[in-house]
């Protein structure tokens, strides 16, 4: 059963509707997608079904409800769908998830830390400080920002759910923090083993992120 929730960034009740439907999608075996009115796909759906108000619920291509439903009423709308057994997949909508927020916040912290190299002479400092500052910026800031925004945007762009839970959502970003610390202090203190462990942590983080994102990209977008 395919359920499309038509929403918009500016609609306050759409955030509540999305939260309720995400809870329902965790319990029921439905193919759930949040469709934004601001995107061509959303406008196309609204035109086809002559939808003039949001949030709107479309089930298997038919308009079923307009307005905010409580969880019981939303569940009743998809009563025919079987109970979901696999709960690892998470459907992404308008709001940033806790792991995305943590990743973006982590990126901002590393931006401040690595940026401190600029008044000291820029990112290309002399000696051991050079790789420490460069990797603080690239791994700490750029990679964490890409991870946080990637896990939020790519499921929405492709229409596929993303794997969640501690292993997939949290372990990669924790490893990136450990990697930046390990590599940075390894270079600054002259402990090559610490740098190597940090580099290994960064590689495992990249591997986990790739394994999490690749299934969304290898399938045709909805």
């Amino acid at each position: 059963m395919k359920v499309e929730l038509l929403v918009s960034e500016w609609c306050a009740s759409c955030h509540d509707a999305e939260r309720i439907w995400r809870e329902v999608a965790e319990k029921k075996q439905i193919d759930f997608a949040v469709v934004d009115m601001g995107q061509p796909e959303g406008r196309q759906l609204a035109t086809r079904l002559r939808i003039r108000s949001i949030p709107a619920v479309v089930v298997d291509g038919e308009l079923k409800h307009i307005g905010l439903l409580d969880r019981t009423a939303a569940t009743a709308l998809v009563a025919e769908a079987p109970e979901r057994t696999q709960k690892a997949a998470r459907h992404v909508g308008l709001g940033l998830s806790a792991s995305s927020r943590a990743s973006v916040l982590g990126a901002m912290i590393w931006l401040l830390v690595a940026g401190a190299a600029l008044p000291l002479g820029g990112f290309f400092l002399d000696g051991a400080a050079r790789p420490a500052a460069l990797h603080g910026f690239t791994l700490g800031f750029l990679l964490l920002l890409i991870m946080g925004l990637g896990e939020h945007m790519l499921p929405r762009f492709t229409g596929h759910p993303i794997a969640g839970g501690w292993l997939w959502a949290w372990t990669p970003q924790i490893l990136v923090h450990l990697a930046v610390l390990g590599m940075g202090f390894g270079w600054l203190l002259g402990v090559p083993m610490l740098t190597a462990v940090g580099a290994l942590a960064a590689f495992v983080a990249l591997l986990l992120f790739t394994l999490r994102i690749a299934p969304l990209l290898l399938r045709a977008s909805v």
């Binding site: 690239t138 945007m153 492709t158 740098t195 790739t210 990209l217 977008s221």
Partner: protein
């Protein structure tokens, strides 16, 4: 999402793994991989991972945010080929320590940047009245 944009992001992830692996190998055995390994690592991460990720996401979201279709899908395809080929040629140049090869790869990668900039600029350009 357009298959080419998905491939841009997939390529970015593969380059990130390759670049990370190369960095680890260089730390463990500095002489194992021939050529200028720090340059290869740096460019695989920045040109391969970060830039390709921006290309893939940018080609998808920027037309949507501006409410228009991408100016040219064909330019996007050419950009995809040039960006990847350019990076491979640059890496080959550093592997064999041959600066002209690096320059040719660099020119191709720069060509991809020009096409991206042109395509995006022509997509998001503003037609409305001043200040609107």
């Amino acid at each position: 999402m357009h298959p080419r944009n998905r491939m841009f992001i997939l390529a970015a992830l593969i380059y990130a793994l390759l670049g990370g692996l190369l960095g680890i190998v260089w730390l463990a055995h500095p002489g194992l991989v021939p050529g200028n390994v720090p340059r290869m690592h740096g460019h695989l991460m920045l040109l391969g991972f970060v830039t390709m990720m921006i290309y893939g996401v940018g080609l998808h979201v920027l037309p949507r945010f501006s409410g228009r279709s991408l100016f040219s899908e064909r330019l996007g395809h050419v950009q995809f080929v040039l960006a990847n080929l350019g990076l491979w040629v640059m890496i080959a140049g550093w592997l064999i320590v041959h600066n002209p090869t690096v320059a040719i790869g660099g020119a191709m990668a720069w060509g991809a940047m020009i096409l991206f900039a042109l395509n995006i600029a022509l997509t998001v350009r503003h037609y409305g009245p001043k200040g609107a």
